[in-house]
């Protein structure tokens, strides 16, 4: 017994080891491109059937359109996508073509994951600015669509309270908005006049959702002139006014300090008169009888919404960059962009695409508002490799402010932290 046992165990271990090696070997072959003319493509929309289907359709069309190269799609669930890319980049196994969330582009470009895009200028020019990832004057990524934030409101609530319905051309002023909230609150028909949607504890929503208000007041996460400090921008007078307004939404009883997990459902059920959400809820908004999407108010520096969604890039380790660029140019055909806008609730990246998308995207259509709004108000999140630190610091500051902390102290602390991080990282090469 004692003689045989080890041998069988050794065998078992050997089999397990071999399996592991085969598995990793497969992974290597898969990402490395297999044969030289296969380009691997990674996408984050493994959990989004509609979007993945369009990507697969583009790839199929592209593979059919020429016979030199084959593009091979690998889809990941969104939650693990960024870590998969980081891991692949550290072990030098990035695919040729990959998609990236807009605020990560600068970080990934500086870390050397991405290659500058070389696309025909006339193709690039057509795209909305907020769908382009430009870092240090080079284009690193380009998107098929953008997302857009908006105030979703019950029109009845506004009409009953005698509030003017704002438009992209003529948005609410800060004073108008304040009086609208006050009138709605006094009507007593709703638990909350304006739900900010603070139930989401994920970091990125806090920056994507609430930094546009800060920018509308005239503040920002970082001084975009050089990206070397946040001092005076994130803790200046404008930022302090924003903080007072933000917390005021809660103290004046217009918004809950912590929204429920699904703020939009509360809006649908008539608990709140208005909710701060985005185009991803445009579908269900259509089912709300008196639902309308409105631009955010102008707090002095113009209305702002967050810009930049998922975009496409080519890795720096790609052996066939020309082919990858060729694929991207092919995929930016208006008919595909229109397909995304049609099947998904997203803003098409070009006018051409909006024109053929139909389904409300045409001139005067029901979804047209989001395109006009994106073109007019979209502000990109700061384009700096230090963004991951900025967003997590800002999100925490915003959470602390809404919870009733001392705003001046919180903002000063955020600035100190951000500046210390900038210093430790040599301003991230800016």
């Amino acid at each position: 017994m004692g003689q045989h046992l080890p041998r069988s165990i050794v065998k078992a271990v050997a089999v397990a080891g071999a399996t592991a090696m085969i598995a990793t070997g497969c992974a290597k072959a898969g990402t490395g491109g297999g044969d030289a003319n296969t380009l691997t493509l990674w996408t984050h929309n493994g959990g989004n059937k509609a979007e993945l289907a369009i990507v697969k359709q583009i790839v199929k069309d592209y593979n059919g359109s020429q016979d030199q190269y084959t593009v091979d799609v690998k889809a990941f669930p969104q939650e693990s996508y960024n870590s998969a890319v980081t891991a692949a980049a550290t072990s030098k196994k990035l695919p040729c073509i990959l998609d990236t969330d807009a605020p990560n582009v600068a970080s990934w470009a500086r870390s050397g994951f991405l290659a500058p895009l070389d696309l025909p200028q006339e193709v690039v020019d057509k795209n909305l600015d907020s769908t382009k990832g430009i870092y240090q004057e080079k284009l690193y990524s380009i998107g098929y669509y953008d997302a857009a934030l908006a105030v979703f409101a019950h029109k009845d609530a506004l009409e009953k309270a005698g509030v003017r319905i704002p438009t992209v051309e003529e948005p609410w002023t800060a004073a108008e908005f304040e009086s609208a909230l006050d009138k709605i609150k006094k009507s007593g028909d709703y638990d909350h006049a304006f739900d900010l949607g603070t139930g989401d504890s994920g970091t990125e929503w806090w920056t994507y959702g609430y930094s546009p208000f800060l920018q509308s007041f005239g503040g920002d996460l970082i001084d975009r002139d050089g990206y070397k400090t946040a001092d005076g921008v994130l803790n200046g007078d404008a930022a302090k006014k924003w903080a007072a307004w933000f917390r005021g939404m809660v103290t004046k009883g217009y918004a809950p300090a912590k929204s429920s997990v699904d703020a939009f459902a509360d809006f649908q059920n008539g608990k709140s008169a208005m909710v701060w959400t985005g185009i991803w809820n445009a579908g269900p908004l259509g089912e709300v009888k008196d639902g309308v999407a409105l631009p955010p108010p102008d707090f002095g520096n113009g209305p702002k919404i967050g810009g930049g969604s998922w975009q496409w890039a080519v890795s720096s380790s790609c052996a066939k960059k020309d082919a990858a660029m060729d694929y991207l140019a092919f995929s930016l055909d208006p008919k595909y962009l229109a397909e995304f806008a049609d099947k998904q609730s997203v803003v098409p990246a070009t006018e051409e695409a909006a024109a053929i998308a139909g389904n409300g995207w045409e001139e005067g259509g029901s979804k047209r508002f989001f395109l006009d709004e994106s073109a007019a108000f979209a502000e990109l999140r700061p384009i700096t490799p230090g963004y991951p630190y900025l967003t997590s610091t800002f999100a925490k500051a915003a959470q602390d402010i809404i919870a009733g902390g001392d705003a001046d102290k919180i903002l000063d602390k955020a600035v100190t932290d951000i500046d210390a991080d900038l210093k430790a990282n040599d301003n991230y090469g800016n």
Partner: protein
């Protein structure tokens, strides 16, 4: 346990066989431990070694800049960071409440479900169910229960005939941590109940029978038979609950993200947030290193205080 077993095995093996047989035996032993040892080295010793090294550098998660040795900078920054002290206080508060309450409650449950019978098996299973449920799932469910219009507040209103309204438990600086404490105890108490139970069953029943003959009261039986009989179990439970309590993380991540106003931020949560969201691997390693030193000294202190004083 292992310390008492190892010498026995060695003693039994030595006289029984020849040298080569002993060699084979150690080979077998090694083969059996190899998978566990391999996993320990890869997922424990190497990361710990890395943590010790990275804590003295400015390593970042992704960056083109080379990592530089920065000496004690990270530690200096850490000790000047008010958030670290706040996290440490929160962690200590959590542990100081959870350790005695959870172990006492577990012992009470164990005594109640000790012995035979169908109903007792049923209750054992019932108390154990939360333990085998993922803490993430439990946290999400309790988040709904603690909501302003959630189950907890509705129950409160029902029981008190609308006199007590409850609060937004997880969004109130004074109730957030207690709310998490209650939930954590409820979730983990079954596990320690089972350990107490195994301890209770090692106490020979003839001792109770003898005590009953002598006319001892229930309290006397507990005081003079049960409590001394649980000595080993007690130490084990004390150490494991303390370590688990100090490592509070999942509930915070799911339920509050350390808020409101850092009232639920813990040391481990701060380390994870710093290391992953903020990509400061070096600084996060320094936090982990300090945390490691703290846990180690607390465990050693507990071992010292609960040592077997009778052995000379």
């Amino acid at each position: 346990m292992s310390t008492t077993l190892a010498p026995q095995a060695a003693a039994a093996g030595a006289p029984s066989g020849t040298r080569s047989k002993a060699k084979t035996r150690s080979w077998v032993g090694f083969t059996f431990t190899a998978p566990a040892l391999f996993l320990l080295v890869v997922f424990f010793f190497i990361p710990v070694g890395l943590c010790f090294t990275l804590a003295f550098t400015n390593a970042r998660l992704i960056s083109p800049e080379p990592t530089q040795f920065t000496g004690l900078d990270n530690f200096q920054r850490l000790f000047e960071d008010p958030l670290f002290w706040k996290s440490l206080r929160n962690t200590a508060f959590f542990a100081i409440v959870v350790v005695p309450v959870q172990s006492a409650l577990a012992l009470l449950l164990a005594i109640l479900v000790n012995g035979q019978g169908r109903a007792k098996n049923f209750f054992r299973t019932l108390y154990f169910v939360p333990v085998v449920t993922s803490i993430v799932v439990v946290s999400i469910l309790w988040r709904f229960m603690y909501a302003p219009q959630g189950l907890v507040n509705n129950l409160l209103q029902m029981v008190t005939f609308n006199l007590v309204d409850g609060t937004d438990w997880l969004n109130n600086t004074s109730t957030a941590m207690p709310a998490i404490i209650v939930m954590s105890i409820w979730q983990a108490v079954g596990f320690h109940m089972v350990i107490w139970l195994s301890g209770l069953q090692t106490i020979p029943s003839d001792q109770y029978e003898a005590a009953a003959l002598d006319g001892a009261s229930e309290w006397d039986k507990f005081r003079f038979i049960t409590w001394p009989g649980l000595k080993e179990t007690r130490t084990f439970i004390l150490v494991t609950i303390t370590i688990a309590a100090l490592g509070l993380f999942a509930q915070i991540q799911v339920m509050t993200s350390g808020g409101p106003l850092d009232s639920t931020s813990t040391v481990v949560y701060q380390a994870v947030r710093t290391g992953y969201s903020q990509q400061q691997t070096g600084y996060a390693s320094a936090i982990s290193l300090v945390f490691f030193a703290l846990v180690l000294s607390i465990s050693l202190l507990q071992r010292f205080l609960t040592r077997d004083k009778d052995v000379r």
